[in-house]
């Protein structure tokens, strides 16, 4: 029997596979395909204080081994989340993470304060959404701004605070260090790479928002490198993601230094992805006579 539990700060996850924000709704639709009590956690769709319609469609473009999305944080607003979605999610028997993406420091602080009064298990501060004009990725591209906003949010809640980083930077480990020094309990990476798709015939961007965020297997090599890089730099846990489709992929991220992983785009093409991945990880660990998933973390032997 493999011990599947992993520890993110004070929080124990029953296994290291978390459904990534924006690719699992609030879990409702996924009950049909998964026994949600068996996955490591669910990160909610990115939340803002007020409801958001998000960007106009077309919001998706298929690319080689991946996709671009430009949803733009469509969500019902924090209050509706707390009233209508969170109670449902907390009843699922898995760890529930609220992904918040305020357009300003103040909005993030206010959301953190409100979430502090709920039973949510952790807050994932999203400083990396590429699909909105204000806040988010703009924060996430500057170590100084990251420090500022993480410190402020840290002071407004005692919940475990995870900070989600953008890969669209020169040195992601500096961003991770900034989050750590400001009190983050974990860093999550990567969010999507800023990209574009063009329809040659119409000479138009496929996405109505012109640009979008690239995810899926195409980005996996970049994500793995960044997770490895960040894990070497910080001492808080790293939650790795980007193109994970299989249990093998997930273990590669753990070997690179991740304590847990998130599975995003895979859910879209294979709704049972999270469960399948956990099962495959258990099979591999069993075959490798590993007694605890946590033994994989950071075991990469570099040349």
């Amino acid at each position: 029997m493999v011990n599947t539990h992993v520890q993110i700060g004070e929080l124990t996850l029953k296994n290291p596979v978390i459904a990534a924000s924006g690719t699992f709704g609030f879990g409702r639709e996924m009950q049909q395909w998964n026994n949600l009590s068996q996955i490591g956690g669910i990160s909610s769709k990115g939340l803002t204080l007020n409801p958001r319609l998000g960007n106009d469609p077309t919001r998706v473009a298929e690319t080689a081994s991946g996709m671009l999305n430009s949803v733009g944080l469509q969500n019902p607003g924090l209050q509706a989340f707390i009233e209508h979605e969170l109670p449902f999610m907390l009843g699922l028997g898995t760890t529930v993470i609220a992904n918040i993406a305020g357009h300003s420091l103040e909005e993030n602080v206010q959301m953190a304060m409100q979430l502090d009064q709920t039973a949510v298990h952790a807050i994932e501060l999203n400083l990396s959404c590429p699909n909105v004009n204000k806040g988010c990725m703009a924060f996430g591209s500057s170590a100084h701004l990251i420090q500022e906003v993480v410190r402020a949010v840290r002071q407004s809640t005692t919940k475990p605070l995870w900070v989600k980083l953008t890969p669209n930077v020169t040195a992601i480990s500096e961003m991770a260090l900034a989050a750590e020094s400001a009190g983050a309990d974990a860093v999550c990476l990567i969010n999507t790479l800023l990209g574009m798709a063009i329809d040659r015939r119409s000479r138009r961007p496929v996405l109505r928002n012109n640009t979008g965020g690239l995810s899926g297997p195409a980005v996996k090599p970049v994500a793995l490198r960044m997770v490895w890089d960040v894990a070497k730099s910080v001492s808080i846990p790293v939650i790795g993601m980007g193109g994970i489709m299989t249990g093998e992929d997930a273990l590669e991220f753990m070997i690179a230094g991740a304590t847990a992983v998130q599975v995003g785009t895979a859910n879209l093409v294979k709704p049972t992805a999270c469960q399948d991945i956990i099962n495959e990880m258990i099979m591999i660990a069993t075959a490798e006579k590993i007694t605890s998933f946590s033994q994989y973390t950071g075991t990469l032997k570099t040349w």
Binding site: G25, Q31, W33, T58, R59, E62, Q74, P217, L268, V269
Partner: protein, 271 residues
Amino acid sequence: MTQIEFNCPVVNQHRLNDQFVILTLKSAAICDTAQPGQFVNLSCQEFLRRPFGIMAIDRATNEFQVGIQIKGKGTKQLAGLKIGDIVSILGPLGHGFDMTGARRIITVGGGTGVFPLYFVHQTAKELGIERIAICGYRSVEDAILRDEFKAIANRTVFASDTGGLDVIGHAGHALQIALEQLASNTIGSQPTLDQSTFILTCGPKIMMQKVAEMALANGLSCQVSLEEHMGCGIGICLVCVCKIKNHETAEINHQRCCVEGPVFAAEDVVW
């Protein structure tokens, strides 16, 4: 927890012409619950799945059909499937047409929109609802499924942009003529053109918008099947949204084409 990913064998592949193919697939689970207007999401070799309206089901054999127009890589791959190949399918998905209270349906289809409307006729026939099928095509060469609609509908009108069929012009134009005839009671078995006549439409957006306006102008209930680029097809990624108006609050919302749709009440759609 109901498992709704199926590995379905291809039991037939029928090429209508160089553009259109009808795949017949086997799945008891899909045939058991599918409603007209719902769709299935098929895997191909590309990264994302491809959505297709269900065209017909046969509960006796547990076979169902989808009609595919070859557009890009994915549809080309799917059209090239051979008997015995296995396809991963999610479905039936989405919210289909509602025929509760209908005594007569008029379907208005354009292009690939005629495929899912065939399933509407199958079901309406079972329910004993009078059926008028209006199908619009670009040309006689594109005019697919005519025999099938003739066999299943009480009355058919085929329109072609370039002539050669019943009506020259688009399907909306054909609908106009049909509505006039119905109003003057020259066609159809039901006496009047009232609320129990449902207009159900699927096809190019501009056609559906015309049809919806015409229907609403005539005081008829109208449902439209919208198309949006999809990520998951199951409601989790929010990429497929359509602008839908809430008539009580006058608010415009983004609703998911794959869950709340693809069929919406025409009066709620913000075109």
